[in-house]
Assembly symmetry: C2
DNA sequence: CTGAAAGCGCTAACAA
DNA sequence: TTGTTAGCGCTTTCAG
């Protein structure tokens, strides 16, 4: 690598002091236009770039936010990331991203590296394992240092921090109601692989309440849940053969995906068979005809989360923690 | 935020010098076990975390790698990212990711921020716009600073750096040959939305050569290319109605996706109609029955790219630039 | 208007 | 075995 060009070397070239160079580059009005321009010209010529590590050491803030997401292949998280980046980068913040791969062990590692004095704040979505086992002790590393933390999507009441979630219960209620009222469904099968996590339970409850409120009895055999989709290969075919089922509600994307694929293998074209509503973020599934999508507005979740982080960072008042809700919307257009 | 706990404050608490604390924490054998342990105990108690910006300023390297990808929603890039992270984080490197959204303007911005003294090296995949317009001047910021740079997937000969790509021509040749030899196809339609980028051309050429080598004439009307898929709505239906077409080759995922969806809207179930081969990284498409997938081994591309970066970073010999090729494989299993 | 100097938190060569 | 000290590159106060 070339010899690094620093303030000092510029100063030597220009025969001025280091502080003059620094001030000139900062457009400090103390410096005369003449020297200021002369300095800046040389700096550009030599392609001078300030060492951010020195700047940040000096200034005392890192201007970087850590983000931990469980799975980058899930487009929901990818979209949230895009949203986060949009607002944080605009404010001059950098983002370091780590992926927990849904494992608490990996998550702890991420938190450790992150809290290693790198970041001004942490944004994360809990790994499935973490949320289920309620193992949050590693977050104390963050909380003890009083680093601002914002959790999104998968949260827990015991963790004291700002949070951003969807209105999962209500969205689920609305989607189910839509199937009942507008599509005339009476026997809606619910497919899920996330009934063990909190938000999965909420969505299930929304579905159940909608049924009840419309005078439909909840039929347990219509609730198909299997954490790793393993039961799906046995349970979905019988559901498909059950003539009474006149609608599907997919509580999460992989569950409805699996259902559609199993149907396809059985040579059922599920999309022409019965109405389907589902939480979904994949562009591909959106092309599926006659699918009613519950759009979580992932990018907006990113925006909101980033904003909450900035609020903590910039305002020193100790306002109490908030939980923001992003309203999911039913999306009928299939394109 | 709490008062930061630093080496100095620890030293005061312990009534030893700063360097004793530093050495103890670094497990320097110079220090007696007794003080070493005493120091470490207090450090853990107070949750001491070294300020990385100070460490890096002192040590002179940033231990972070910049990564710029065009689109995080494309699972190919998401997988490459996973691969990169796997090997870089193991070596103690952090990653800052930025997304160019396929725009040169945004890409320039990313490169600027990155080169702002943050990174030890840059890994990137060119934005489509950048590759098409051959606008690489912003990369000079990196090259001039002699920062190691590794390009993957979308590359250009004019850019002097290490590169990692797939064997696109050969993979395309193999896939087409498979359709011809094993599936008995004679009239294979090629669908593409990337014929304007280099790798899209290579894949097209591989297809054409395979046809020629098997005594099949290249029929231009069988080559359906449209940069933004706009022509697909008009051209795909006629291709589907053309009884002579007995196979499809998707040069990229969105093209084959669009084809399948248009077919679906026309009530053709393409998968039972004719054999399809396609470059594809989406888990969802993998479930598509009877689809022959060209697997680019994106994660491996990530591994290889990261390895090339580490080689540059760790070995100071000025070896000449290499271009590594990751062999794509044909994947028949549909699960 | 310009420069000298202190110090951010850390490491490491050198001294004791 | 421990401590002193210089300095990484930068900003900023204070003095000139």
């Amino acid at each position: 690598m070339k010899p690094k060009i620093t303030l000092k070397s510029l100063a030597e070239i220009l025969n001025v002091s280091v502080s003059t160079v620094s001030k000139s580059l900062a457009n400090n009005p103390e410096i005369s236009d003449e020297t200021r321009l002369r300095v800046r010209a040389v700096a550009t010529k030599y392609n001078y770039i300030p060492n951010q590590y020195a700047v940040r050491l000096r200034k005392g803030n890192t201007k970087t936010i850590g983000v931990i997401i469980p799975n980058i292949l899930n487009p929901f998280f990818a979209k949230v990331l895009i949203g986060l980046e949009e607002v944080l980068s605009k404010k001059g913040y950098n983002i370091i991203t780590s992926i927990s791969h849904e494992s608490t062990e990996k998550e702890i590692k991420c938190v450790k590296t992150m809290s290693l004095g790198f970041i001004d704040g942490l944004i994360m979505c809990l790994a499935k394992e973490t949320q289920i086992n309620k193992e949050f002790s590693h977050l104390d590393m963050i909380i003890d240092k009083e680093l601002p933390m914002v959790l999104f999507d998968r949260i827990h009441n015991d963790i004291e921090c700002d949070k951003v979630i969807n209105d999962d219960y209500e969205a689920s209620y609305r989607a189910t109601t839509h199937l009942i009222q507008d599509k005339g469904c009476k026997n809606i099968a619910l497919v899920s692989s996330i009934a063990d996590v909190h938000l999965g339970k909420l969505r299930l409850e929304g579905y159940q309440q909608a049924l009840i409120d419309h005078g439909i009895e909840v039929n347990p055999s219509h609730i198909i849940n299997s954490p790793n989709l393993i039961d799906f290969t046995s349970r979905i075919p019988s559901a498909l053969k059950d003539q009474s089922i006149d609608g599907f509600f997919g509580v999460n994307e992989s569950a409805i995906m699996k259902t559609i694929n199993i149907a396809k293998k059985m040579e059922y074209d599920i999309s022409t068979l019965v109405p389907i509503a589902a939480f979904c973020n994949t562009y591909q599934l959106r092309n599926h005809p006659s699918l009613i999508i519950v759009d979580q507005h992932a990018t907006e979740i990113g925006h909101k989360t980033a904003q909450l982080m900035l609020d903590r960072l910039l305002k020193d008042e100790q306002k109490s923690y908030t939980t923001a809700t992003v309203k999911a919307s039913l999306d009928y257009k299939t394109y």
